[in-house]
Symmetry: C2
Subunit: 328 residues, 2 copies
């Protein structure tokens, strides 16, 4: 039998990434990336998406007939049965109830399936990344926000309303916790995301502590404390940044412990922009906070806490696997 | 085909309950209850258990040949494959690595299977209680501690080390939270269990607030604030007790929200001694705290938060269903 190829797409607020993936090996055969330009609206971005997919196919040199279907990770809630995007706060209101699946199918003559971007990332890590070989795992992606996915018995677990895996909204500091973007207080996202680290740093500076972060921001001509700026300041020994990172690591460990105490998975895979920049060492304090809080102490370290293995590719590989699982 | 009967056993720190259950209908045909007398040690309690089971069979008038097997809910970690009790802190050290399954099998000539008591309770509620008809649910039992179980796709989900469903040890107040019996701080159990309510009441009294609880304790000749005493003081309008209950309800709502945001089940079933005593009304503030924190706001109320339906029988019915699922 000839190899079967699927297209995986990571539809992000900043960039579009499309890849042709060999579903057998998880290997990316060809890929293309461009800016999303969300100001163009849903139809405009979808046109760019089609062009990006065409370029990825061209780069891969895979024959169109060998491509079985397209999987897309979307940064917001979707309806997997209809291929409709419920909404996409990062991308704008033109995406509300947008029929992305049907539109792409019409333009590309290939079947399309969608899911939430972090669920899709969990699937990618499970199939070919750090979660490979674990039948039951939780993925946590730490970036601007905190999202994730749950794998149960080798399948993505979607829950009753396609809302499972919202790890960023486990509440870890119910009283006195900071306001989360969701409107509630004390969610894990508000305590261990990239934005949380930024907030810790800016609060310390506002309270009069000395930090090199303002200088770095000026040099970089930026206003937001990106993962890269956090990494640079951390590596330079900036005490404010180190304290901020330690706090985020502590709360990430709390989140891991809560997930493990509820689900007792074989592994927790941690990825996302912050982890990409900070590397494996970021997880050591996370493990320390987590392991001592596992209620099954005896075998605590049997639950692996590992860094995601596919980097930027977890989304596109996962989207391709999603397409394989749903469309074949 | 003749009806198939299974024996369900709830091995508790205070009492032993054995029941003959019709696995088709979930109906308890006969039952027997007696004090555990844990001071007799594992062998002594097991002898009492055999007598209790024999009495339940006699009361049921079911023929011994129609009984297929025995399921037991144990208040501690067990090894489901060997029938060994890992340990039972409530019952004493003689239970460490105790071969309960093999011992009972030898004495009663019936196959035996074990699981954690709260997992078994979740199974009972799923099969014939408030969780009936929901393929995916979380059960939370609020008593002296807080335990529970996770049902995924109509099956009890055990996790990788048989430790799933430890809902009492999701961390909801990581910084500044009270010490939990597990040694950590801020676990849900330390904030919404019967012992937590007792602690809130005693702390308020120690701080000089006026309460009728001390008088009730003297009248009842008790030292611990039981669920019944909490109920009595609450119904009498004791402000200290009402505030303590409200706090526990808030944190129970937080715990429900965290479980729902991770798993998106169809239902959360809440039972246990506190709920038994306080009734349905106890859940209204819990729902209020929980629903507003569900990340999938749009369809929040599609997730049912319901009171357990089997009362004291959830354990024995669940244990019988466990036996049916594992031994048939």
């Amino acid at each position: 039998m000839a190899n079967q190829y699927y297209i995986g797409v990571d539809l992000g607020g900043t960039s579009l990434l499309a890849a042709v993936v060999d579903a057998e090996s998880g290997r990316v055969i060809g890929e293309s990336k461009r800016k999303t330009r969300s100001e163009l609206g849903a139809d405009g971005v979808t046109t760019r998406l089609v062009e990006t997919i065409e370029r990825a196919i061209k780069e891969s040199r895979v024959k169109r007939d060998d491509i079985v279907g397209i999987g897309i990770g979307v940064p917001g809630p979707i309806d997997p049965t209809t291929g409709v995007v419920v909404r996409c706060e990062n991308l704008g209101p033109s995406w509300d109830q947008y029929e992305l699946g049907r539109t792409l199918d019409t333009m590309l003559h290939l079947p399309v399936t969608l899911d939430n971007d972090v669920n899709v990332g969990a699937l990618g890590e499970h199939a070919f990344g750090a979660g490979k070989g674990y039948s039951d795992m939780v993925a946590i992606f730490v970036g601007t926000g905190v999202g994730g996915g749950v794998i149960i018995d080798n399948h993505l677990y979607s829950g009753s309303r396609n809302s499972a895996g919202e790890v960023g909204h486990l509440i870890v500091q119910a009283e006195g916790g900071p306001r989360c973007n969701c409107g509630q207080n004390g969610c894990a996202e508000a305590l261990c995301s990239r934005l949380a680290i930024e907030r810790y740093i800016l609060e310390a500076i506002a309270a009069g502590e000395s930090s090199i972060v303002p200088d770095i921001l000026v040099q970089a001509g930026r206003e937001d404390v990106s993962a890269n700026i956090i990494g640079t300041a951390y590596e330079a020994g900036d005490q404010v940044t180190i304290a901020a990172v330690n706090k985020a690591q502590f709360y990430l460990g709390i989140l891991v412990a809560s997930c493990v105490n509820l689900l007792d998975p074989q592994a927790v895979v941690v990825g996302g922009g912050v982890l990409e920049r900070m590397g494996d060492a970021y997880l050591e304090p996370v493990r320390e906070a987590a392991y001592q809080r596992f209620i099954n102490h005896a075998a605590a370290e049997e639950v692996k806490i590992v860094r995601a293995g596919l980097g930027d590719h977890s989304g596109v590989v996962g989207a391709a696997i999603l397409a394989r699982d749903r469309l074949s």
